[in-house]
């Protein structure tokens, strides 16, 4: 199905926001001003955006330690996210969560998560709620190829099937869990989708470096899961991560030239541009305008985050039921 000019521009902008948000963090983290562990989503933008462009705020997502892309795609405020990662009081979580715990429940974003495999069961709960409410909403669990080996993920898949939860397991296979290859760690047929299928779910596969592949695949998946009575589904997207597991990772596990090659041939933004300009749907100038606009938005977010008030020591005692 053909997307409108506005839809195309919006999808491109969303992917570009994620890309530049992460590229900027990659630079700023090296100054030492940003604390904590940061896992960048660069390279996987087409998945987050291709999924979330179909969703309303009533649809829920549960994310991972590599969550910035999911958060931005689901509509979390760019300034609020940047401020959170900078640990400021204006951050989406008041500086209490940081990169690994960004959440905005009002936007249907039920949290990034520092515990690998913790997201899938939470999505089952949200998917059961969606089923009970019968409004056609869904809950989506983003998981990595590493997380697909966690018992919690297995339990979640089976429980979603037996409860017919309106939930979708989106597996982003970027071929690595930390420093270990997918080839080593996943035993079944070297793929994840067939494992989900064995739990009794309908499955799909797509190219996670191609926005159109993700978007069109997700249209089918969502039509299926939104229809009453069908229950859950799973989809595996093959994708790439452009940076290390976390910022500071020496990445010695990569092959020679691997990073250059994936940046050259598997970049969802380059592919999108080639595809829409080739088909005459958008011009390079259209996209360049978006690029400039995004760069400015990121610059503004960083400026605001740096200038934002720092948390106060007494804030530690707030937002928990009791303090001693």
């Amino acid at each position: 199905m053909q997307l409108s000019r506005d839809q195309l521009l919006r999808a491109y902008r969303q992917m570009k926001v994620i890309r530049e948000f992460e590229e900027r963090l990659h630079v700023d983290i090296q100054t030492g001003e940003i604390a904590g562990f940061t896992h960048l989503y660069c390279g996987q933008e087409a998945v987050a955006v291709g999924v979330c462009e179909h969703l309303s705020t009533d649809d829920k997502i549960v994310s991972t330690h590599r969550g910035h892309g999911h958060c931005l795609a689901k509509g979390c405020d760019v300034d609020g996210m940047m401020a959170e990662i900078w640990g400021s009081r204006d951050g989406l979580c008041k500086g209490k969560g940081g990169s690994m715990h960004i959440a905005d429940v009002d936007k249907g974003m039920l949290g990034a998560n520092g515990i690998v495999g913790a997201g899938a069961p939470i999505a089952v709960g949200a998917g059961i709620a969606a089923k009970i409410d019968r409004k056609g909403h869904v809950a989506i669990a983003f998981s990595g190829d590493g997380a697909c080996n966690q018992g919690t993920t297995f339990e979640a898949m089976n429980m979603a099937v037996v409860t017919k939860a309106a939930c979708i397991f989106v597996f982003e296979n970027n071929h690595y869990s930390e420093h270990t290859g997918f080839e080593y760690a996943v035993g079944t047929n070297k793929d994840i989708a067939s494992r989900a299928e064995a739990f009794g779910m309908k499955i799909w596969r797509g190219d996670g470096t191609d926005f159109f592949s993700v978007f069109e695949t997700m249209r089918e998946v969502l039509d299926y899961v939104r229809a009453p009575g069908n229950g859950p589904a799973a989809v595996e997207f093959d994708t790439e991560r452009f940076f290390g597991h976390f910022e500071g990772d020496p990445q010695r596990y990569r092959g020679p030239g691997e990073l250059d090659r994936i940046r050259e041939t598997r970049d969802c933004l380059k592919k999108f541009r080639a595809s829409v300009t080739g088909a005459g749907l958008l011009s390079d100038a259209d996209l360049d305008t978006v690029d400039a606009d995004v760069m400015e938005a990121i610059e503004t977010a960083v400026t605001k985050a740096k200038a934002a008030p720092r948390p106060k020591p007494e804030d530690v005692l707030e937002d928990v039921y009791i303090s001693y």
């Binding site: 930390e178 420093h179 290859g181 080593y184 990569r254 020591p313």
Partner: protein, 337 residues
């Protein structure tokens, strides 16, 4: 003596014990670190560099890279231990006891007792713990109070490279399950370590790291260094502190604490776990029960507040016990009349 980092003491002790006893095996996520990649196995060698080179030396049978499956890793450690092996399992972050607790708590810890003493369960579960890295609520926690409260487990928390060496060797040779807690902020700390390949430190023997007659300070891990700094500062003012490094919280060296309090009459316990049902509370209660007559002031505990670990630098600093907070507590216990 050799000078080495805390993390190097972990690695070299494991290597020496693997050399000595072929039943010692290592398992955990990324302990090989590069399996199934173009860079080849051992491209990284473990996230904490505490297993680098083991795979090359001892091979895939004894250095087992696992998928992200903590429950199965802990369970496999239990199964290995029941069948004659001596697993040294790595749980990358102590916070991940959450996903694997049944295998630690209901299985490993209980086998010897439940089976009427008919089995040994020689497993070591290593884990990195503690705050100080702005790693936020799910990667910064202190969990030793939870594990110390579980019958059947021994809980070890070294604070120097030499103690890593002596305690980890004892842990690997012990026939019971041992939780071995490595404070993340100490991995880079250097110290002198004995060369003797049989150097062992028995469990339940605290270390007196500073000696003085006025106050007893009990601590472990990263905070022990803070306590030493306070003791050194007060020494210049003529105030003497006993600083007791617990080394193991189960078994607990009650005698060392009680002997010291008998002299000083004043106790400050400094610990990184939250205050409720905590190690600090446990030790204060033990001293109140067993040395009430020696006490000249109510014991004081210095702990984080009853909150999760926050992310931002300012918040984490406010959360953790600090040198000024410890000093204030010591002065308070001294000024009690």
């Amino acid at each position: 003596m050799a000078r080495m980092m805390y993390r190097e003491a972990v690695l070299s002790t494991i290597a020496e014990e693997m050399e000595r006893d072929e039943n010692v095996v290592v398992l955990g996520e990324d302990v090989v670190g590069g399996n199934g990649t173009a860079g080849g196995p051992e491209a990284i060698g473990g996230i904490w560099s505490t297993s680098a080179g083991l795979y090359g030396k001892f091979g895939a049978d004894r250095v087992i890279d696992t998928p992200i499956s903590e429950s199965a890793i802990m369970g496999a450690a239990a199964g290995l231990a029941l069948t004659g092996k001596r697993p040294v399992a790595e749980l990358m972050f102590a916070d991940f006891i959450g996903v694997s607790l049944d295998q630690i708590w209901n299985q490993l810890a209980k086998f010897r007792y439940m089976f009427g003493g008919k089995t040994k369960c020689p497993a070591v579960i290593r884990m990195a713990w503690g705050a100080g890295y702005n790693a936020a609520a799910q990667h910064s926690q202190a969990v030793h109070h939870i594990l110390t409260g579980m019958p059947g487990l021994k809980v070890v928390m070294p604070s120097t490279p030499a103690d890593v060496k002596g305690l980890l060797r004892t842990a690997i040779r012990d026939d019971d399950p041992v939780i071995f807690l490595e404070h993340k902020a100490l991995y880079g700390v250097k110290g002198e370590v004995p060369d003797d390949k049989d150097f062992m430190i028995p469990f339940g023997h605290a270390r007196l790291s500073r000696a003085g007659n006025d106050v007893t300070i009990v601590s472990t891990g990263l905070l022990l260094g803070f306590c030493e700094a306070v003791a050194d500062k007060l020494a210049a003012e003529g105030i003497g502190c006993d600083v007791i490094d617990l080394r193991t919280t189960s078994p607990l060296d009650e005698e060392a604490i009680l002997d010291s309090v008998e002299v000083t009459g004043r106790l400050v316990v400094v610990d990184e776990t939250n205050p409720r049902c905590s190690l600090a509370g446990d030790i204060c209660a033990m001293v109140a029960e067993k040395a009430f007559a020696s006490l000249k002031a109510p014991p004081i505990s210095v702990t984080p507040p009853h909150t999760p670990v926050p992310f931002a630098r300012e918040l984490e600093t406010a959360y953790l016990p600090s040198i000024p907070k410890i000093e204030a507590a010591v002065r308070k216990v001294l000024s009690y009349r």
